[in-house]
Symmetry: D3
Subunit: 136 residues, 6 copies
């Protein structure tokens, strides 16, 4: 049950600042589909624009130091630890669209689960830092 209204295409068209972002999402992603996250965020056109522009530059840039599929897998990892159901679903779909295989998905889940396990063990034991980890 959303806490804000989801803007329809007709409602978006009535707000030029929203329409401009929706146009750019469609052009950038080469699809007519606008997912619910943007329809919800469109209630605040300034934040819609800011978040979309950051996401576009971070997640769709060509020639970055981390390849696009890896970026999506990192996104899934954070979203899982933050228990964001919508984000897990949308970024798993995005990772598949970028070519994530079942084997890669399986390994990703295994690493996420293992990290969570050792995170909790290290916290519960309050393990002190090793000086060897110091940044040179």
């Amino acid at each position: 049950m959303a806490t804000v209204k989801l803007l329809s295409d007709q409602e978006a068209a009535a707000i030029p600042a929203v329409q401009a972002v929706f146009d750019d999402i469609r052009a950038t992603r080469k699809t007519d589909f606008i997912n619910n996250f943007w329809r919800a965020l469109a209630n605040d056109p300034a934040n819609l624009k800011r978040v979309w522009e950051t996401l576009k530059s971070v997640m769709t840039v060509e020639g970055g130091a981390i390849d696009p599929l890896t970026r999506e897998m990192i996104y899934i990892a954070v979203s899982t630890a933050n228990a964001c159901q919508y984000c897990i679903q949308s970024h798993t779909a995005a990772a598949r669209a970028r070519g994530m295989t079942d084997a890669q998905h399986g390994e990703l889940l295994t690493i996420i689960g293992l990290a969570a396990q050792t995170n909790h063990l290290a916290l519960a034991m309050q393990v002190p830092s090793d000086p060897e980890f110091e940044v040179p």
Copy 2:
């Protein structure tokens, strides 16, 4: 301030099940260094063995579907969202040891920050799932 004792090499040597794991850590990692996480976990030899064997098979396996550096970056992502200071420090050191560049580290942090931002936005707006995300 740790909640358990950290076992010294001498104390580990007195418990064969611990010594066997410490030997395997040294052989697998080709270093004499045993970091504090294992020295803390050594208070429970059965769990030490189980966690080490899982970590060894997940994080050091050759020829997996996800390359070793990417595995460490996913680990950092989960550890950050779980606020595990020790894990962030140890896996950042591990990622550097596997060749993570400053540019890759910068992009990793940017993606983690962005994911956290949209995770919180999607949660606060309680965005409903899009049917398009359904697994085929």
Copy 3:
């Protein structure tokens, strides 16, 4: 899918300690509506009473140092970071009932998202404290 039964008005009426709290909720809030949180908590009358009395004194007190709408916005912020869907929904409704405008809601979400982003960045970089932050 709840892990406890939700008590109906009839079931509540059969337990005097529950009925007394339900009566007080209705009198304090000037409405007949008892939301599901209290119907679930009513399985443990002692905890129902304790939580309601704390919530009543913290959230509905007149003349506090923080105004009632701000209190609800803080509640939403915590509930989002804790990924409590029910709490996000109920306290967003409560904030609207106390007069939260769309502009305020938009700014609240923007701040929550930004805080989450910098929280994760500061954690991932393990930024050390500045002595300037020391309490005088």
Copy 4:
């Protein structure tokens, strides 16, 4: 123990994109003090600029719908639930600088604690949404 280097003023001066942000932080905040968060983030000048510009526009804007002190209190609430020690310290200092009284701080902490308590209760009981919370 930071996972990145903290840039000194001299190191920042050698990178024009960093120097420009540091100059703007000093001008905006009317102080010579640059806290460690920005010195750490300066390792990635593009992200430094993006995060600073967002933070400046969200947290220091005049005439927003939420007053500046309330913004800092919301920031503290999110940072607490995300267990970001540095953020809790820096934004508590910022809130005090904006006039937060001891009474307001006390109420803020009380609300954060209460919200966390009911968040966990609602999650543990898996309380279902009330239709009354629906956005009109």
Copy 5:
């Protein structure tokens, strides 16, 4: 909306490594019922086997230092703080199956809520460690 397929009995039967785990789950738990967690995890037979064997040895072992019902209550506590809805539901059902009474459930929820409250208070106040807590 799951991000992986849930394997039916027929699909599981076609993969010997999955069938072997499903057989062991049924034999260990003395029921024909396989819950959705295992049907989802079965997409990765190696992780299915690893997680099941750990869970079997940790949660169903006879004669451990912590009794089986207490183990399930600890599991509920962690799952609540991690906001894992499925886990809260499944382990509450498991705790009931192991004899958890309504009074025990009520006390468990009360402790979880109180711990969350003081966790957030201690974090927000950044309370320093007491030397008295040092492990001898």
Copy 6:
């Protein structure tokens, strides 16, 4: 670095409402030691009283449905998942004071780690509820 002052015995003595709680802590726990959590919370005498009275009634009550050591272990579990370092340290000390053996501590940590692992797996896979978990 605390965000509030820690009240000394002398400062506490100057505020009757604080002194009364400190007296009750000492009488209830049969020790002169007041740990830093209460010295920090004492900045807000009303919340100090409320939290102490709840904690006293929940954690020290005789004849509850859950025994005192188990209560402390549940507290450690929640505190770990919430990454509250102070709480992990103080409640581990409390559990040891109530007789927690090394074997029990080891099993507790193992269960916490395993729960975290399956929490993250269930979240990442978005496993749907089983109707069998329904409360009768």
